[in-house]
Symmetry: C2
Subunit: 453 residues, 2 copies
């Protein structure tokens, strides 16, 4: 019987696991450990504290520290779990309030991920930042006040959202992306091109296919030396400060130490109950590896939606319940300079890596009927398994209603629909809202014909 | 073998049937008859020609008359089918170009619906209109230029959209609704109340539970006599013109004449191939009765989305193919004074009428996370079958992202999902777009708990 659940990490994953365990069992003892001094806050909201779309840092705190007590949950904030003796089910911790030991019956790793620093000279300088913690955001909000030139290394979601934020604060912003396009973990190159054009029109400088080599300057940056991977040309971009957003890797050291298995994605391997190879030891969120929904390939989410859903499952199970996590579809979305960018399931690249032969339905449509003023262009792709006709992914880019349309595709993937079923989808229609055959349905029609379904 | 397909009606249904028949068979002879002189135009777009959101009447014409020839389709516009001798597979027509007869092998009724005039004295006066044809809209656009007071009798979709349009043109507009609330064919009373409050704040006068009795005035209206159904009080509302939008009924006279069966909804009975009881005779769109998706109850769509989907099926089948129509979910949407109003599947009222016991998930949520500025209130309900847990309907009202969210529910109904599957839905999330647990998922969670699933 579980009397004490210990949870390491108080991000979206750890905090949700604690709350769900408490909902399931009123009496089980629950302790949350967090190295950061803050209680649960929205990590995804950090870029918006720079632009002001989130008004105050405190607004991001979703679970004020003092509220844990009312749930009878011990939240040890600013306290790090330093060691685990799993044979005795006991962990050691240290931090502001001194050191100590604590027994547990069930253990949940919600240790998140940390920045994976790229091979660039000068990363140790002052005014070189990641954007992963509330303290990072606070420092960067100060930079926005006093700087002219920002260089963002890495054009993934965090990098692009940060770039937009600094641009909105009036800075000149350059994004340095190693790969041929930004956001390639999310969208295909043709969609990335639309996004880049849009961002460039709005004033961002984007250097694709470019390696950042060195951060110049004595103590603080004066510029970033970059090398074009095509031409080999080397140049220096002026920078008052630098944000490094080249991706993250799961934090697994403690887990590895007690014999928890790590998977091919470098995340902690979990089953459909979010349990690791060790009984009553769970992992959730960015530190955890689970399965891609369609192919059942080992997969790490790296998304808040996945973190809270996994955490709910682990929290219930740790408290003695039996919940299941259905796998990761990987629905992703952002909005940059009002452009909605949305992707779900497999990209072309992922489909190839996972050996899924695909047929595409590509549409350049409009969000509204042609006769109604104000419709916006919508670029849309859906992917179907060439052999089974099943929906395996989709991407949308447009100035409105791209993200919400994506949701239809995600539910479709979860329900295992094929191109005919998406074609038969009865979208809602009104002149002020959408045309009679939604672009989603049009894309399914194109694919259905190609699939001869 | 079908050599000649005759289609009666050139609205969305008739035109789509013609085009789909042509796509399926390059050689079959196709003739379209339309009593109106116009080729296919968007009927749903008519109110927006009054407000100017559709700039020109011609913009509504989706298939210019001259384009039919290039598809090798004979479009007889302004020509009415006057009689049918089905034993000889021959129809008679008359109109601007004279009279004639035409043989057919397959016949498609796309005769639409017509206004069902309510028992009101004075409907025959000038400046009393329906809003169903392009000529109606042209006349009403002129009224908008010269009038001060408009009275709309009937607060359904057409009535409310017309009311908004005239209000935007600066008129004082009163909506007279016989039932306790507007839009009750679409939403439940509590949702209708939100809509009414919103419209009233924007300047509409809405009189619910009120019977229009008489249109006063000599040749043209000066006012409308109305009687409160609660208090019995009688009053007169000033009116320069009147729009009657109290609903429609299927046009079935010709079909009845040749022995086509009419269903309990007064529409032409059709099967899943959109065929009537007579071989090779089809009916599609507003004149046709088919089946409600969930309960298989006889149902009439009255929606453009349904019309084109049914027409596609009938067009293919008439040309010798074999397509199936999956039934009518009835996804409906509109936007009035920027408020998106969306409904799918069964309302509470329909569920009761169709003997479906329901459990509700009601949520007052927000379109964005609480920490991000600019999120809008979203009122949302989902309905699940109390016995099976299956999703049977949903309604959303909000200033953004209500309509597109509805699409998720419609696909869910079509995929027969239950409350747990909607709860497991992996919505996309980003601070600028939506929270980690979408309000849809929250409503499923509330219902799931009530269902003990």
């Amino acid at each position: 019987m579980v009397e004490h659940i210990a949870i390491i990490g108080c991000g979206a994953a750890g905090a949700t696991a604690a709350m769900q365990a408490r909902k399931f069992d009123r009496n089980v003892q629950i302790t949350l450990y967090n190295s950061e001094k803050y209680s649960q806050y929205s990590r995804c909201g950090l870029p918006y504290t720079i632009s002001g779309k989130v008004k105050a840092f405190d607004d991001l705190v979703l679970m004020p520290a003092e509220n844990w007590e009312s749930l009878n949950i011990y939240a040890k904030l600013g306290i790090t779990v330093t060691d685990i003796d799993h044979s005795n089910h006991e962990l050691s911790f240290g931090g502001v309030g001194g050191e100590g030991k604590q027994e547990y019956d069930a253990l949940i790793f919600a240790t998140g991920a940390k920045n994976a620093d790229p091979p660039i000279t000068g990363l140790e300088k002052k005014r070189v930042y990641g954007l992963r913690t509330l303290d990072d955001a606070k420092a960067l909000a100060e930079e926005a006040k006093k700087s002219k030139n920002a260089v963002i290394i890495g054009g993934g979601l965090v990098g692009m959202e940060a770039a937009e934020a600094f641009h909105e604060r009036g800075l000149h912003v350059t994004v340095v992306e190693f790969l041929p396009h930004v956001l390639l973990a999310m969208v295909d190159p043709d969609m990335a091109q639309i996004i880049e054009d849009h961002c460039t029109e709005h004033g961002l400088t984007i250097l694709n296919n470019t390696a950042a080599q060195e951060i110049k300057g004595k103590d603080t940056p004066t510029g970033v030396i970059v090398k074009s991977r095509e031409s080999g040309e080397i140049s220096e971009i002026p920078a008052d400060f630098v944000v490094v957003a080249t991706g993250v890797r799961p934090v697994t050291e403690l887990a590895e130490k007690i014999g928890v298995e790590i998977g091919p994605t470098r995340g902690i391997k979990t089953d459909d109950r979010m349990m690791t190879n060790l009984q009553d030891v769970y992992a959730v969120g960015d530190c955890a590896e689970n399965f891609e929904y369609i192919t059942k390939t080992p997969f790490t989410g790296g998304l808040g939606t996945i973190a809270v859903r996994q955490a709910r499952v682990a929290g219930i199970n740790a408290a003695g319940g039996d919940a299941k996590f259905p796998g990761i579809v990987g629905a992703k979305v952002t909005k940059i300079f009002d452009l909605e960018i949305a992707s779900t399931g497999l990209t072309e690249d992922l489909a190839q890596r996972f050996n899924v032969p695909i047929v595409k339905g590509s549409i350049k449509g409009s969000t509204k009927p042609p006769y109604y003023v104000g419709g916006k262009d919508l670029k849309l792709k859906t992917f179907f398994n060439k052999e089974t006709g099943k929906l395996v992914g989709g991407q949308l880019v447009g100035l409105e209603d791209a993200a919400m349309r994506l949701n239809v595709l995600t539910l479709g993937i979860q329900q295992d629909i094929n191109a005919v079923e998406l074609f038969d989808f009865e979208n809602c229609y009104a002149p002020a809202v959408c045309d009679t055959w939604d672009p989603l349905v049009q894309s399914a029609d194109a694919a259905r014909k190609r699939l001869k379904l």
